[in-house]
């Protein structure tokens, strides 16, 4: 068994089942108990951090790898990049971290949600299941939203990102009608804290507006917008831009960096070795409303079994368990991509 762990550095998923580990005589019962009793963080933290490439299962290494690949892709000219997002629904726990981090990153006002997480229930009590599905802008390859804009305020960039020039949009909301995914919404100019004249919250709205304009998404930058610049967004239509301002600075989009379940991947489809490409090769992926022919750039992975909280939690426990055990053995192994589990 120990030999089984000391596999050569192949990229194949280890076929070794976790139950075999647990049965192993070398294992201390304490490890198992510790893991199952929820003391995961302590145990993991107690271990010295392994080198990034040694644990492909580790979330950080995925982020590091995606960041590295992103920076590599940035060296290519714009038209040779093709940004896509891959969302592993088995890993999504419905925590809304991406939604919140997006709001914080882009300083979006109430009523504007670039990346909501849709939640619905299937099955009948007591056999119910919750399903989670984050929905950013699909950055369609055949976007139905751009050709309807009467003033050319929105278009598809060469790297596949559909942008809006906030300085040019007239706020007719025709594109809102044309988007089949509900990815566009209108900024009606609300503040999170209403304008109050007295009391401790007086003046917060004005402060909020000032802060908002400091956000990169609002500023005339080389990445967003055209000759008109950006600035104030009240009254116009807004949408997710895959955080261009972050990508172009070599950083992953906010929702990818903050995804607690590690469910959101981002990368260049034109790089055959990128993580997103490997994921798409490995797992069956689907896209939303494929029948409309919009060719979205956001892929969803359900894999076997689809998304389920219970199985997801189990898989998480399994992953940590294996990690700890491996360290106990001092072994090195390369697991498969996506970290959907070892089986």
């Amino acid at each position: 068994m120990v030999d089984g762990l000391r596999r050569p550095n192949g990229s194949e998923t280890s076929r070794l089942g976790r139950r075999e580990f647990l049965k192993g005589a070398l294992l201390g019962a304490a490890v198992t108990v510790g893991v199952l009793s929820g003391d995961l963080s302590l145990r993991v933290a107690a271990q010295p951090s392994p080198p990034a490439e040694s644990l492909a299962l580790d979330r950080e290494s995925e982020l590091v790898r995606m960041t590295r690949e992103l920076q590599e892709s940035l060296k290519k000219p714009l038209q040779e990049r093709k940004w896509v997002m891959v969302i592993d629904l088995r890993r999504c726990v419905g925590c809304h971290s991406c939604t919140v981090s997006c709001i914080a990153e882009n300083k979006t006002p109430p009523g504007i949600t670039y990346r909501p997480v849709m939640i619905w229930e299937t099955g009948e009590y007591p056999n119910v299941k919750l399903n989670f599905l984050p929905r950013p802008c699909m950055q369609c390859d055949e976007p139905p939203c751009t050709s309807v804009c009467p003033v050319n305020a929105t278009w598809k960039r060469e790297d596949g990102i559909v942008v809006i020039d906030y300085g040019k949009c007239i706020g007719c909301r025709y594109c809102v009608m044309a988007c089949p995914y509900g990815a566009r919404s209108t900024d009606y100019g609300y503040e999170w804290v209403p304008e109050l004249e007295h009391g401790p919250l007086a003046g917060t709205a004005a402060k909020e507006r000032q802060d908002r304009v400091k956000s990169l998404e609002y500023q005339p930058t080389p990445w967003y917008g055209g000759p008109y610049g950006r600035g104030d967004t009240i009254g116009i239509t807004r949408k997710c831009h895959f955080c261009i301002h972050r990508i172009e600075s070599g950083v992953l989009p906010a929702c990818v960096s903050t995804c607690i379940g590690g469910a959101t991947y981002f990368g260049d489809l034109n790089n055959p070795n990128s993580l997103v490409n490997e994921l798409l090769r490995r797992y069956g992926a689907f896209r939303l409303k494929e029948e409309l022919g919009t060719e979205p750039s956001v892929y969803y992975i359900t894999g076997e079994g689809g998304a389920s909280v219970i199985s997801e939690l189990e898989a998480m426990v399994d992953r940590y368990r294996e990690e700890v055990l491996l360290r106990e053995f001092g072994g090195r192994f390369r697991a498969g991509l996506g970290g959907g589990g070892l089986e």
Binding site: I119, I170, Y174, V176, I234
Partner: protein, 431 residues
């Protein structure tokens, strides 16, 4: 000017100014004052009235072509009314869609950097061509009378409009008639395909929206346009004559009533099959869901009360069971009711489709917005809350400001109409 007429104008001025306050609020607080900002519905009352006015304009113009394009003598007396109504309705189009833009001041981009793959841009340019045709036509058909009035010394405005021309010969009349005929015939495709069919295409090309999408939408638009235009011309002709104390021509009224009844039945026929096929479908389509919302959902009263009862049953009853030329005021009432019914049709084109979310399980943060407490003057805050209770989620009900602004547009148009019918010679001036 008769007493009756002066009183009418005074009332209109007061109403326009009173409701015009909403424009100030709109400019100050932007779309926050609309119920749109509190629901996931992105188009509302103003867009409905935008297509309503486009319809009135195209319909009235097409009625005028009966006279100027095809030379039907029975309609001769309403020709200029129809053209004037077409022009003012187009102004209503502009006034209704302007406040609906989140950035009114960027309106000009439609002309400085248009994208002609978008039907909104095509329309914006079509309206310009169309208004040129309309104004040229109205000017040419009343030129003879303008010159007569100028020679009579009826006012500086006529001398200005006569453009220095002192006499109007047979030859002038013939040439003008030819130009008008050509303009009217060019105008038919411009109005039916470009202006109103095109406005239908704004909706018809949106593949993401069931019921809007499809070839039927522009056709239906043009049909209801003809119907509403004819009804409005009939009503306004009678009312104007009545207010001015003039003589109402029975032949004109009877011929117009005939046209209106015919168009009403054609419209009903189309509505019937739209509803029946979509409701009878063997698959549970989104179309059926939307029609369900329209017939039995939150907007049921628009369909059953405004459209069917007020728009068809009552006025058709009046027109068919009374003698319109003997009781013209009743016929005018029927015409107004039909126009209101078509406003309901327009509302039901826009709103039920938008009540359908792109995904049924979109989370609440996607569609529930904050209440504009901070921005709305205190005395309407209570009313705003009350209305917001209806407007949360996908159900949209216009706020008091939206109604007020729309009313101000209607009052302003009526006011302009009442002034213009006084200024422009609407009938042949006696020597």
């Amino acid at each position: 000017m008769s007493r009756r007429y002066l009183a009418w104008i005074a009332i209109l001025v007061v109403l326009t100014v009173a409701t015009g306050y909403s424009w100030y609020v709109r400019v100050l607080y932007n779309l926050k004052i609309t119920a749109l900002s509190q629901s996931s519905t992105a188009w509302g009352l103003w867009v409905s009235f935008y297509i309503f006015f486009v319809g009135l304009s195209a319909g009235a113009f097409l009625i005028s072509t009966l006279v100027y394009g095809f030379g039907l003598k029975n309609f001769e007396r309403i020709g200029r009314y129809a053209l004037l109504i077409a022009i003012l309705s187009l102004f209503g189009v502009f006034l209704s869609i302007l406040p609906d833009l989140g950035r009114m001041e960027r309106f000009i981009y439609l002309y400085t950097s248009p994208n002609f793959s978008s039907w909104i841009a095509i329309e914006a340019w079509m309206y310009v061509i169309y208004i040129v045709i309309l104004i040229a036509e109205l000017y040419l058909v009343s030129r003879a009378d303008i010159i007569k009035l100028a020679n009579r010394g009826a006012g500086g405005i006529y001398r200005l409009l006569a453009l220095g021309k002192k006499s109007y010969t047979e030859g002038d009349a013939k040439r003008d008639a030819t130009i008008v005929r050509i303009l009217a015939l060019i105008g038919i495709p411009v109005a039916a395909i470009g202006v109103h069919g095109g406005t239908g295409a704004i909706f018809g090309v949106i593949g993401a929206r069931p019921v809007w999408f499809g070839a039927y939408t522009p056709i239906y638009f043009v049909l209801s346009a003809l119907f509403s235009g004819a009804a409005l011309v009939l009503a306004l002709y009678i009312l104007t004559k009545w207010l001015q104390g003039g003589e109402i021509d029975p032949v004109t009224v009877d011929s117009m009533v005939g046209v209106v009844i015919l168009l009403a039945f054609v419209e009903l026929f189309f509505m019937f099959w739209e509803v029946v096929t979509n409701m009878w479908t063997t698959a549970p389509t989104a179309e059926r869901e939307i029609l369900n919302i329209m017939l039995f959902g939150s907007y049921w009263w628009v369909f059953w009360v405004v459209e069917l009862l007020l728009g068809f049953i009552v006025p058709l009853g009046i027109l068919m069971f009374t003698k319109p030329s003997r009781r013209p005021l009743l016929a005018a009432l029927a015409g107004i009711l039909m126009v209101i019914g078509v406003a309901g049709i327009r509302f039901n084109i826009v709103l039920p489709t938008l009540a359908e979310k792109p995904f049924p399980w979109m989370p609440p943060e996607w569609d529930i917005k904050m209440l504009p407490w901070d921005r709305i003057p205190g005395y309407v805050a209570g009313a705003a809350q009350w209305i917001a209770n209806f407007s949360q989620g996908t159900y949209y009900f216009p706020t008091i400001w939206e109604w007020m602004l729309q009313a101000s547009i209607i009052f302003l148009l009526l006011l302009l109409y009442s002034i213009f019918v006084k200024v422009i010679p609407m009938e042949v001036v006696e020597e």
